[in-house]
């Protein structure tokens, strides 16, 4: 009646006792996340050019552009004088704004615990995003997109561009 297979099944279960468990105990320090993980957004305010592309591509309508005083922001080249503000109550952390940003000033950090006591605190204006950039993103020393290696051989497929 299949006694042998039943015993083998029990044997594999008991044999699993010798392996280390595959779960973690609740850690007292945060566990390291992968390099490409999409955490909280951060903004390098000086390089923003105010092109509004991040606002257009956002699927959740979480980004709004806010007019900012040019002298306070030390923009290098910003014609419209505005920068994005992110509402983290709506953001879905999809990464489209980071990928589309032409001057590459929006970055994902690895910070994932951003809960606050009031919902209004989740609306980060550009200056707060700049603080996040200085505190969270710069210490990570990640390779930014402009420095990524381009493939050496051109593609053999001719595509419309």
């Amino acid at each position: 009646m299949g006694i042998k297979e039943t015993l083998k099944g029990i044997g594999y279960s008991i044999g699993n006792l010798k392996n280390k468990p595959a779960t973690y105990l609740y850690p007292d320090k945060p566990l390291p996340v992968q390099e490409k993980s999409r955490g909280m957004l951060s903004l390098d305010l000086e390089g923003c050019i105010g092109c509004e592309l991040c606002q257009k591509i956002c699927p959740a309508d979480a980004i709004t552009m806010i007019k900012i005083d040019q002298n306070k922001a030390h923009f290098k080249a910003n014609a419209r004088g505005e920068a994005p503000a992110v509402d983290f109550a709506k953001c879905i952390f999809c990464g489209l704004c980071v990928d589309i940003c032409p001057p590459n000033v929006l970055h994902h950090t690895h910070k994932y615990d951003i809960s606050t006591n009031r919902k209004d605190d989740l609306f980060y204006d550009p200056f707060r995003l700049n603080e996040v950039y200085n505190e969270e993103y710069k210490p990570l020393n990640l390779k930014s997109r402009n420095e990524e290696e381009k493939p050496s051989e051109p593609s053999t497929e001719q595509g419309k561009n």
């Binding site: 039943t6 099944g9 029990i10 594999y12 279960s13 008991i14 699993n16 006792l17 392996n19 468990p21 595959a22 779960t23 105990l25």
Partner: protein
């Protein structure tokens, strides 16, 4: 016999009637403590063992190695609000868990706890009385299922009763064969008759029938179809919460302990063994049997209720009866 021991101490100070009363009270307290300790310890073993088989940790924080986790859970159960719908049958609903744990205390009182005269109360027909207490469980299931006033609980109770009655017959046949071979229903005498060779060597088929049958009688997985938690949401236990549920769990674990001890007494030689004291041998064997029985729950899926009854009537009972007849013919 432990009760004799206490009686001789207490008799020094009091008259006969008072000392009988006092020793019964002391023994009752000891039996209660043992009955409550069984699910606490066995529950911890069950959870840790299951967790390590599933590549996870199990209880880790409450007490060292999570030993006090079941204590904490029991205290939590005591504090739960007693929810029952307004139409429960008061007597039937409340008496089922009470009787379940009362039978558990009774079973602990009469079974030898490891060596020759180490039972709380000595009865010459140990085996029969333990069987009676286990065989009354279908009655409790029906009481509980009826008293809950819930149509699905009643269906689950019908299934539970059917399963238990089927497998009790096989277990009874096993007990009769072993009693026939050893010549008495007293567990100490049965162990004594195994001092040369274990019964499992002579009767391996009976051993298998006993293991499967007793697991089904106590409704432990993989035979826990009436109370399957994935499908029917706790079957006939669905309306029990709080302390009543805790008492049902107490009954479950004590019955698991009792059938493991019975397996060791009837088939694996009891406390006979070469070097170590008998008490140590007994508990080592019981621990191994308990671990094996627990691992059945976590490695196998459960059969359907009609397949379960099929196995009981078509395979186990004929095998048991054939064995009984063979034993009577060969031994006589």
């Amino acid at each position: 016999m432990i009760i004799n021991f206490f009686y001789t101490i207490v008799r020094e100070f009091f008259s006969v009637r008072v000392s009988i009363l006092l020793s019964v009270i002391i023994l009752f307290i000891i039996a209660l403590i043992l009955t409550v300790a069984a699910p606490l310890i066995l529950g911890w073993v069950d959870r840790k063992f299951a967790a390590r088989m599933q590549s996870r940790y199990g209880p880790m924080y409450v007490g060292k190695f999570g030993l006090l986790q079941n204590v904490a859970d029991f205290i939590k159960l005591l504090g739960k609000d007693v929810l029952s719908n307004a139409y429960v049958d008061g007597l039937a609903f409340n008496i089922a868990p009470l009787l379940s744990s009362a039978f558990a205390v009774a079973m602990i009182s009469i079974i030898p706890l490891g060596s020759a005269s180490l039972e709380i109360i000595n009865l010459p027909y140990n085996l029969l009385f333990i069987y009676i207490f286990m065989a009354l469980s279908p009655l409790l299931v029906m009481l509980g299922g009826w008293g809950e006033n819930n149509k699905f609980a009643l269906l689950g109770a019908f299934r539970g009763t059917a399963q238990m009655i089927t497998y009790e017959l096989s277990v009874l046949v096993v007990f009769m064969s072993i009693a026939f071979v050893s010549g008495s229903f007293d567990i100490s005498a049965i162990v004594l008759s195994q001092s040369m060779v274990w019964n499992a060597v002579y009767f391996p088929v009976l051993f298998l029938v006993f293991i499967i049958g007793s697991l089904a009688v106590i409704e432990r997985a993989p035979f826990d179809m009436p109370e399957s938690s994935q499908e029917l949401q706790a079957g006939w236990r669905i309306e029990y919460s709080g302390l009543r549920y805790g008492l049902l769990i107490v009954g479950d674990y004590v019955k698991l302990l009792v059938i493991s001890m019975l397996a060791v007494y009837l088939f694996l030689g009891g406390w006979n063994g070469p070097l170590l004291p008998p008490l140590a041998w007994f508990w080592i064997k019981t621990a191994i049997v308990i671990l094996v029985l627990m691992s059945f729950r976590w490695s196998l899926n459960r059969p359907r209720i009609d397949q379960l009854l099929d196995i009981g009537w078509k395979w186990l009972l004929p095998l048991g009866v054939l064995n009984l007849v063979a034993v009577m013919v060969l031994w006589a």
